[in-house]
């Protein structure tokens, strides 16, 4: 009796999880499907789900009208650049806060997080003016810096949480075993910290890749990444659903593929504290 009740419960949970999963995935699926329709079919009502004339013309046209690869390359440089730069700053910061905390460390961490609570639009004008005066508007370098700063609090928080999970006794054991600071960092700390750093890096690449507020507002043509590439298809002359979908599909494909292959590392990273 009890067993069937619990298996029914499990079934319920499974169905619920699937429902949520489909709910989240459906817009992505719909976008991909729409990208293979003609503009007329894309706005047809009632919409057709799979039974339409599949076509690649949107992709051809999108590639003719705008340079996908230039935007793609900008996205790569911006997301990788801001992530690497962020890690360079965040690793020592998180390190010292985790291993040699001071009285105000908690406050500093809270302060960093609090900057994420400010709506970005609140600092748009000052940042825009700073960028204009420094000649950083529409430059890849400028975006690398802004996105690094935007995500820095999250990087530091994530790394801090990972580093704190490394038991102090293991570092002390290394010291007792005759390891100096250098050997301790090379043989013990780094191997234990690498999984956490890798997950942080992946997550941050994804965040930077998808960031749309600053990338849209601070670029025009030269430095525009894929977000701007998508946005260019919602133009004042009218919406082109099918082409917009094709552009979106091309923009999200690289990051979806990256996410797919690093799934294990991402999940492991995000549940690090939970599965000791």
């Amino acid at each position: 009796m009890a067993r069937s009740a619990s298996s029914r419960r499990k079934l319920g949970m499974t169905l619920f999880a699937w429902a949520i999963g489909i709910l989240i995935f459906f817009p992505v699926l719909w976008t991909v499907l729409t990208s293979f329709k003609t503009e007329a079919e894309a706005i047809a009502s009632p919409p057709s789900f799979l039974l339409f004339d599949w076509t690649l013309e949107n992709y051809v046209e999108v590639q003719e009208r705008s340079n996908y690869f230039r935007h793609f390359w900008n996205s790569v440089v911006i997301s990788l650049g801001s992530t690497v730069l962020g890690l360079v700053i965040a690793i020592p910061a998180a390190w010292s806060m985790a291993f040699v905390p001071a009285k105000r460390t908690k406050d500093v961490l809270m302060w960093m997080l609090s900057t994420k609570m400010l709506p970005p639009v609140g600092v748009l004008i000052p940042i825009y003016l700073i960028f204009r005066n420094l000649g950083l508007l529409d430059t890849v370098g400028g975006l690398v810096i802004v996105l690094m700063l935007i995500n820095l609090p999250i990087i530091i928080w994530m790394l801090f949480t990972y580093f704190r999970e490394i038991p102090g006794e293991i570092l002390e054991a290394a010291r007792m075993d005759g390891a100096g600071l250098k050997a301790e960092i090379i043989h013990v700390l780094t191997p234990m910290a690498v999984p956490g750093i890798a997950s942080t890096m992946l997550l941050n690449i994804i965040l930077a890749w998808n960031e749309a507020f600053w990338t849209l507002n601070l670029t025009a043509a030269k430095a525009a990444p894929l977000t701007a590439f998508i946005a260019s298809y919602s133009s004042p002359e009218g919406l082109f659903y099918a082409k917009l979908s094709a552009a979106s599909t091309m923009a999200i494909a690289p990051i979806l593929i990256l996410g797919w292959f690093s799934q294990k590392q991402l999940v492991r990273g995000l549940t690090f504290g939970a599965v000791k």
Binding site: P167, E169, A173, M176, G178, V188, P191, M192
Partner: protein, 333 residues
């Protein structure tokens, strides 16, 4: 060699004095146990010796050399932590080899020593596993293996058995004692368990609130506790304490008598009482006796002593086993 001298060492965290001025000589080859209630400063004292904490004042000498400012890596001591503190990303073999690698030994010598240690500790079949794939007892052995390979001047153990279940704890206790007998290296062992202290130590250091209450062999502490604290801490079940008129009769403020030092009778004796609880362990019976005017006393009888809850019994202390204490709690001799 492993002769360690502590001279007037103190340790404060902020304005909390955790170790009060403390002197101690630990002889070469000795098995010394720091025992005391939780929070009394045992771990701190061990970590001071290890160099993982800096002393606030005083000096530490290891084999005649001032080691007070020497970093832990250079003191030549090995430590076994309560959490084992194994390197989770290394195999058992690499864990045990790590201190040898740090010492810069050549590959063949490392391999030889690791193999030896693994054989002694029954770890030969597990050398290629990760610590995460081992049981608690095996992890404990790896931690010990990592400590013994480099032939340190002394071993430091911080409550190494407290994460093991009771049966395993008894086994490991024996194994560590055997290890000490065969290595003849100084061992400093921290525990809050007075039974571990009594069974393993050459000498016991009883600590309370950062102070040494008494240093001595297990039997010295048992037979001649210096004060009420040591008298109550060493021995199981605890010594009975009696105050008031009965103590006055013996010119003492407090009288102490161990449960095993009273004769029991169902017919006559010195102190009369009623049995409130009787615990039959088979080999022994422990009686909690509600006496007239002396409070509740614990007494040990042999396994077959025929009493039950509510029975009347008489207790007669062995006069030469009475402990007398003054108003400050110090033993009167």
């Amino acid at each position: 060699m492993g002769h360690i001298s502590l001279r007037q060492i103190t340790k404060s965290f902020g304005d909390v004095d955790v170790i009060r001025p403390l002197d101690l000589e630990i002889r070469d080859g000795e098995f010394i146990v720091f025992v005391g209630p939780s929070g009394c400063g045992k771990s701190t004292l061990l970590r001071l010796i290890a160099g993982l904490e800096d002393v606030s004042s005083g000096t530490i000498e290891i084999d005649g050399r001032d080691a007070t400012e020497v970093p832990p890596a250079k003191r030549g001591l090995a430590m076994v932590f309560q959490s084992y503190a194994l390197y989770p990303h290394m195999s058992v073999r690499k864990n045990i080899a790590f201190p040898l690698k740090m010492a810069g030994l050549d590959k063949a010598e490392i391999e030889r020593r690791v193999t030896d240690a693994a054989r002694v500790l029954n770890l030969s079949d597990y050398l290629d596993r990760r610590p995460g794939q081992l049981s608690g007892g095996q992890r404990q052995r790896v931690a010990i293996g990592r400590a013994i390979v480099r032939e340190p001047a002394a071993f430091l153990f911080d409550e190494p058995l407290s994460n093991l279940d009771a049966a395993l704890r008894v086994n490991m206790r024996l194994e560590i004692s055997e290890l000490h007998n065969s290595l003849e290296t100084t061992m400093i062992y921290v525990t809050h368990d007075q039974i571990e202290a009594m069974t393993m130590a050459d000498r016991i250091v009883v600590l309370q609130a950062g102070r040494i209450e008494q240093v001595g062999t297990p039997l010295e502490l048992y037979a001649q506790p210096r004060n009420l604290f040591v008298a109550g801490f060493i021995g199981s079940p605890k010594m009975n304490f009696i105050e008031g008129a009965e103590a006055k009769k013996h010119d003492a403020h407090t009288l102490g008598i161990r449960p095993e030092h009273m004769a029991l009778s169902t017919t006559d004796g010195a102190w009369k009482g009623k049995v409130s609880v009787s615990e039959h362990l088979g080999s022994d019976t422990f009686l909690h006796v509600q006496t007239e005017g002396l409070g509740t006393l614990t007494a040990r009888a042999d396994g077959e002593f025929p009493v039950r809850h509510g029975d009347t019994v008489w207790l007669t202390p062995q006069t030469d086993k009475l402990h007398r204490f003054d108003a400050e709690g110090l033993a009167l001799r």
